[in-house]
Each structure stands twice: as C-alpha cells, then as structure tokens.
C-alpha cells in the first residue's frame, strides 16, 4: 500500500529578481492509489499551480514529484500523458471552439495511436452520460454541463490512472454540479482511478474527498481527514475561518 503520488518540497516561482513570487513554497503530500485527495484554499494560494506542475503544464518547478514509482522531470514523455489527465475549471474555455466532440475525442486516440477509435468514443461518451448523437456537435451547441462531460470524456479516453480536477464544477449551476459530482463518483466505481481535486468550495471538497490539504500563501497549513474537517477539528485558525465563511452569511454574523 505505497503511495501512488508523492510530492516533496515542491517549489514554483513566478517572475525574476525583486518581483519573484513563490507561488508554491515547499509543499509536500502523498496520495494513495484509489484515494480522492483535496486541495482547498482561496485564489492565489497556489493550489492550481501545484496541479499544473503535476501534469507537466508548468515546467519551472523544483523539488520531487513521483507518480507510480517514476521520478518526474519537468519534461514528460508521451507515455506520461496516458497515466495522468486533467479536467479544467471552465468548460467554456477548455474545448476547442472549432472542433466537434468527435474531433476533440479523436485527437488523443491519434496522438497515442490507439486502436478501434469508434468503439472507444462510443464507450467513453456513454460513460459520461452523453449519447452517441453528441458526437458531431460543436461546443456552442452544448450546455455547460454537457461541455464538462465532453472534457471528462476527453480525459478518460486514454484510460489514465490519475485524474487531476481543477475546480471542475465552479463554473456550473448547482443542479449541474450535482450531476457532475455524481459522475465523478460513478466513474471511480467503474475505473481504477485516483483523483486530486482542487477547489475553493469546502462543500464540494467535503463531498468528494477522503483527505484534504488546506493551503494558504503557497504552503499547506494542515492535512486532515474530511470527517475532522466537517466536525471543525482544524488546528489552524485560517482553516476554521474558511469553514465558517463557507457555511453561509448568517453564520459569519453570529460568529
């Protein structure tokens, strides 16, 4: 039962000289295979930057990242992208506006030279709850929730082991959010997947995750089980403040 993902002393800095900002400042955590791990914090705390370093979009990091026993370098082999995939925050910006669903899903198949494209596309579309008649639609003909399903299908089509979720429901309506969160739970029952979920919404994190790391100013303040978080057994004042604010407006007044 060794960890699938291990991160040690991860540092990411933006800018040079005096304007240098440490967006991620010595972060370490580990995620077991099959676990759902949450990273919470407010905008600018570095949670998305960690995901970008993990998936290879940000190459300017130092430290140690190990996934499935492989020590990662900033540059990744093509095979890495079959292991780790990502779902982005904004479904309106993460699908190519000139490509149909079919084209979007064909690209990873072509890149990795996978066989039997039609079977794969049909299977993955069914898995995310879209019928085959969605294959030839353009993104502008889809609702926000449908777009996010296509984005999830695109991530799943290469059959990855790790799915990185960057605020996957924050741009969606609450009823659609519930559908997408249920979808993530379902997919995990079928496929052998490990999630890292980044969110500012403690409700979503508490619903999805087993363990949560609370981040502030590029550092992890504490890592705790979701039951401890919900029972307000946080050690840091900031985590408690985050929790209180998430409960709604009246709670803040009475606090």
């Amino acid at each position: 039962m060794s960890a699938l993902i291990e991160v040690n002393d991860l540092r990411v800095a933006f800018g040079h000289g005096a304007a240098r900002v440490n967006a991620v400042d010595g972060v370490g955590f580990s995620v077991d295979a099959g676990e759902v791990f949450g990273l919470v914090g407010e905008s600018g705390c570095g949670k998305t930057t960690i995901l970008k370093a993990l998936c290879g979009l940000n190459r300017a990091w130092t430290g140690e990242i190990t996934i499935a026993g492989q020590r990662l370098t900033p540059r990744r082999e093509k095979s890495f992208y079959k292991l780790v995939q990502m779902v982005f925050q904004d479904p309106y910006g993460s699908l190519h506006p000139r490509h149909t669903v079919n084209t979007t899903l064909m690209e990873p198949i072509r890149i990795h030279g996978l066989d039997d494209p039609n079977r794969r596309i049909d299977k993955v579309l069914r898995e995310v709850g879209l019928g085959p008649d969605f294959r030839f639609r353009y993104p502008h003909q889809l609702s926000g929730g449908q777009r996010q399903r296509v984005a999830i299908a695109r991530a799943l089509i290469v059959e990855p082991k790790v799915l990185l979720l960057d605020e996957p429901t924050s741009a969606l309506d609450v009823s659609v959010q519930a559908e997408i969160l249920n979808l993530f739970a379902e997919i995990r029952r079928i496929e052998d997947l490990t999630y890292i979920l980044v969110s500012h919404d403690l409700g979503v994190v508490a619903h999805m995750c087993e363990r949560v790391a609370v981040m502030n100013h590029g550092a992890i303040l504490e890592t705790l089980g979701v039951d401890d978080l919900m029972a307000n057994r946080c050690r840091h004042a900031y985590s408690r403040e985050l929790l209180e604010s998430s409960r709604g407006y009246a709670h803040e007044l009475s606090a």
Partner: protein, 309 residues
Amino acid sequence: MTTGTGIKAKRGGGLRAWLMAEVAETVMQARLQRAYLGWLRFVENPLAVIGLTIILALILIAVFAPLIAPTSPSAQNLDIRLLPPSAEHWFGTDELGRDTFSRVVHGSRITLYIVLLVALIAAPVGLVVGTISGYFGGWIDTILMRLTDIFLSFPSLILALAFVAALGPGIENAIIAISLTAWPPIARLARAETLTVRSSDYISAIEIQGASAWRVIFRHVAPMCVSSVVVRITLNMAGIILTAAGLGFLGLGAQPPSPEWGAMLSTGRLYMFEQWWLTTMPGLAILIVSLAFNLFGDGLRDVLDPREQ
C-alpha cells in the same frame, strides 16, 4: 410555373430546417450549419453584399473575358485612334486604336491573377511564421519578429520597387515582390492571435494529451488564426491591387502590350487632358475593385472575427 416555385420553396424550407436543426447528425451538416449562420450574419450588412457582388462579377468577367470583350485587347487599328466613348466603343479607344473596354475587361484577369497569387503566397507564409513565433516564444520569436520588423520598416511600394529592380520587371516578379511585402503584417496578426489562443485551456488540454508542438500549432492554434488572417488579407487586397497598379504605372510590373490597369493608366496619362477616358476607365476599375474588397473584408470580419461576437 407556380407549382415549380411552390416545390422549390418547400424544398428550401426543408433545407432551412436542416440547416437550423439543433442537432447535427454528421460533420458535414455541422459545418454547413456554421456556414449558413455566418451567411445570415453576412447578408445583414448590405455594403458587404455589394462588395461580394462586385467581386463575383469581377471573377465572372475574368473567366468569360474573351466572350465579353468585343475585340482582342491587343487588336490595333490606327484608323480609329483616340475615339471618345460611343455605342461602338463603350470606353473609347486608345492611341493605337485598341478598344479600351476590351482592354479593361482583359485587365481583370491580370488583377485577379495578381491578387490570388499574392494571397496564396503571403497568407500561408504569414500564418506559419506568426503562429510558430507566437507559440514557441523565446529566441525563435525574437529572430522571426525582428525579421518581420525589417520588412515592415519599409513602405511596401518602395520595398516592392527594390525587389523588382533586383529581379527585373515583369508580372511574375511583381507578384513575388508584392508577396514579400504582404506577409509581415499577416505574421504580426497571426502572432498576436496565437498569444491569446496559446494561453487558453483547450490548448493546455491538448498539450497534456501529449501532442507534439507541431500538432498543437497546425491543428489547434492555426485554425483559430485563419479567420482573422482571411479578413486581413481581404482588407489588404485593395493595397495589393494598388501596389500592383503602381508597379505597372512605373513600368516595373506588367509590360506594355499587356492590358494591366496600372500600365494602361501610365500610357493614358500622356493624353490625360484631351482623351480623359484613357485614364478614367482603368482608374475607375481599380477604384471599384479595391473598394469592393474593402467592403467585403469588413463584412467578413463581422462574420469571422471571434472578438466581435
């Protein structure tokens, strides 16, 4: 007659419904739907439709020039030198007794030839240079953009003149020279477009699918730049026509017996005050065609430019 139009209207309704259907069943239908919606937006702009009509007319005239023109553009008849416009010679005749109307009609072929070739050379070159420069950034960007700056720092006519002077006069060389001056603005535009597209999530998404840089550039970035490049090159057509006419006028483009509009202007200027039609007719042709490309480009921008939507 009435039943015919009735059936036609019915079929048109079915086609319209197919084009406006919420769900496309094939890639073809999805593409046609997009084009149809674009067309609907385009026809909202009457000036753009006028521009398109003139360009279509120009193409038809060029294709059927021998049928439209009453005489050959080079048929000389010294008995009818410098006749004013009349029923027989609509645009009059020139100093060698050639029919000006026939020459203007045949000149449309040359104009179209120049415009098409320049667009086919300059647009892809500019697109490739701009997207590569914008996507890779760093020293590749620096080198390509400084090169572009060098070309941009000369007025295009002067630069074209220099190239023609080096290559020798003639229509092919004029086309090469104009293309050399036409790609840098396209490259700049494609680069700027690439910079905004590059940072979007759908490009990040394809990058973490493991796509190579070339695949990202040509399959994902470039298609997003094509529409603004098409708009820009259409708007630049007027400039290209004028530069071509300018080279012709200076005797560095198409060479005399050829009925190129600029060259016609040039010979006509000797007779400008007494035989006004020799300069006016090719001049009007240049004006109308340049204007048409501008109007068409404006309409095209409303349809294609993603920022306007």
